[in-house]
């Protein structure tokens, strides 16, 4: 369980990005964080693994207080938090496999990682994950040769191979087309369910958030203005989060199961790779 207690962040420029945020994310909950640009969504998830140092407040993950850790303890704590980025943030000149295995860096020594001699169990797990996301035929391709959707899948593998307790996901679909966005969101949610992972997903797309998250938190000017289930998002709520606009068309009304069936075969279609059985790895947690 993740707990944020009156968390605040003021940047050196004087901007207050987060103001007194208190939030609890129970185990295996997928939570979407919505809000306008500059509301503090990115700051919030970066405070959790302290890529951004919070100014005030505490963060507790499974009983461990994160805000007071020294740098070596922080490094150990970061191993248990997987992060997925907006622009994929793969190391472009490294291969797919190297990118995935870089998720294990916290667990292996320098020379092993330098000579790319990772333990066989890590390599096995990397292959399992790549197979699960349909990219096991591309292990030695360089990351910059992949398409956007493929890159984000590698990003997901890199986060999951850490075997994290929580996933921090920053705008996973912002650089993807609508169809790929849905596939990526579905993949993330399925993997979270398989591994009983909790996740915080920053997302701009309200409809996607409603479609896939179990809980939605709305952030506005660094403060939580909505916290509730996806089906209680109304035009009034959206106005509170984003400001005045005609919101009727944005609210998700389609039954999610319908959508699931329609999109079912898509996952593998764009990879030109036959024979991926999506359930094959379902026992993997």
């Amino acid at each position: 369980m993740l707990r944020l207690d009156s968390l605040s962040k003021r940047y050196q420029t004087g901007d207050l990005a987060l103001s007194n945020v208190t939030l609890e994310v129970p185990d295996s909950q997928v939570m979407a964080l919505i809000g306008p640009s500059g509301a503090g969504k990115s700051t919030l998830i970066r405070c959790i693994n302290r890529l951004v140092e919070p100014t005030e407040g505490t963060i507790t993950l499974n009983g461990q207080e994160l805000t007071s850790l020294n740098s070596s303890k922080l490094r150990l704590a970061r191993r248990h938090m997987g992060m997925i980025f907006q622009e994929y943030a793969l190391v472009e000149r490294l291969s797919v496999m190297e990118n995935v295995l870089s998720g294990r860096l916290g667990f292996v020594g320098f020379w092993r990682s330098y000579f790319r001699k990772f333990p066989q169990s890590d390599v096995d797990e990397a292959f399992r994950l790549l197979e699960r996301v349909g990219l096991d035929h591309m292990v030695d391709k360089r990351a910059d040769e992949l398409s956007g959707g493929q890159r984000q899948r590698v990003g997901i593998c890199r986060a999951l191979i850490q075997d994290p307790n929580i996933l921090l996901i920053d705008e996973p679909t912002a650089s993807l087309d609508p169809k790929t966005s849905r596939q990526i969101m579905r993949l993330i949610c399925e993997l979270c369910k398989e591994r009983k992972l909790s996740a915080i997903i920053n997302i701009h797309d309200v409809m996607l958030a409603q479609m896939f998250a179990q809980r939605i938190v709305g952030l506005q000017m660094g403060e939580i203005v909505y916290d509730g289930p996806p089906n209680e998002i109304t035009p009034d709520v959206l106005t509170k989060i984003y400001g005045e606009e005609d919101w009727e068309a944005t609210i998700e009304t389609v039954d999610e199961d319908d959508d699931e069936n329609v999109d079912e075969p898509e996952q593998v279609k764009d990879e030109h790779h036959p024979g991926i059985d999506r359930d094959r790895m379902s026992g993997l947690t």
Binding site: L51, M83, E92, S102, G103, L105
Partner: protein
């Protein structure tokens, strides 16, 4: 353009606005430049008779370079060349090896403030003197010969390579670096996985470029006594053996061209 033309539907003319907006300033500057040019030309004293005399002498001087003589002093040329090549290779290797830690320290996004300032100071110091000046100093310290040249070029390479390495690291994509940091990687692992892949191709290219520069510099350093092919060249000029000098110059051109093509090929390979 008048308002009439706009109203009557004639297409509007557009010209790029002049760099200096005020027309009076503009014309004044042109006039000033013209007057200066006229006055400057007026002060030139050209002695046409002496110039006419000099032309055949010049032709004789240039023709004494031909045909280039590779044979007479071949032994000295080879010795000089060997010295130069060894000077080039060793100083590039040593310079780059020392420049890497200093360059890492001089990258603002990597090093803590005090380390950054110290490393930047070292880089500024190694770059503040031209090679010739360092070479004169080294020749005084260590005596004539290629060792002084080697030290000079090593110092110059540190300044060049370290500064460009630091700048390249500062320009790297911070998100890729952030992503590796978020996995809980140790600092050296982070360097190896996030920083190195981003700067490596440029560093290899710059290494070869520095090799090229060091070879050319080694030809100059000989003139102040720091050994190498430059010493051979200098001796040839001193003895009025211009045909031997021509041979040395041709060899230098050939080697620089060879390095040039190789570096182009290697850079394309590593990108």
């Amino acid at each position: 353009m008048t308002t009439d033309t706009v109203r009557s539907g004639v297409s509007r003319r557009w010209t790029k606005p002049p760099f200096i907006r005020n027309p009076r300033t503009r014309w004044f500057l042109w006039l000033g430049a013209g007057i200066y040019l006229a006055l400057a030309l007026g002060t030139l004293e050209v002695n046409w008779v002496r110039m006419a005399d000099g032309i055949p002498r010049g032709i004789r001087f240039i023709s004494s370079f031909f045909p280039p003589d590779f044979v007479t002093s071949w032994g000295e040329i080879v010795t000089g060349l060997y010295e130069s090549i060894w000077m080039t290779i060793t100083s590039t290797v040593v310079g780059v090896a020392l420049a890497i830690p200093i360059g890492l320290g001089a990258a603002r996004n990597l090093a803590p403030r005090p380390v950054y300032l110290v490393c930047r100071a070292i880089l500024a110091l190694t770059r503040s003197f031209q090679e010739i000046i360092i070479a004169i100093f080294m020749v005084k310290l260590f005596g004539f010969g290629p060792f002084a040249g080697f030290l000079t070029l090593s110092i110059a390479s540190i300044g060049f390579y370290g500064k460009l390495l630091a700048e390249d690291i500062e320009d790297m994509d911070p998100v890729q670096a952030e992503a590796i940091r978020a996995t809980g990687a140790k600092w050296f692992q982070w360097l190896n996985y996030a920083v190195q892949p981003q700067v490596m191709p440029r560093m290899i290219g710059l290494g070869i470029y520095r090799l090229d520069i060091n070879f050319r510099e080694s030809a100059v350093l000989g003139i102040v006594g720091a050994g190498g092919i430059g010493a051979t060249l200098n001796t040839a000029f001193d003895r009025y053996e211009f045909d031997t000098a021509a041979a040395v110059l041709l060899i230098i051109i050939a080697i620089v061209m060879f390095v040039e093509y190789t570096s182009g090929y290697v850079r394309k390979k590593v990108q």
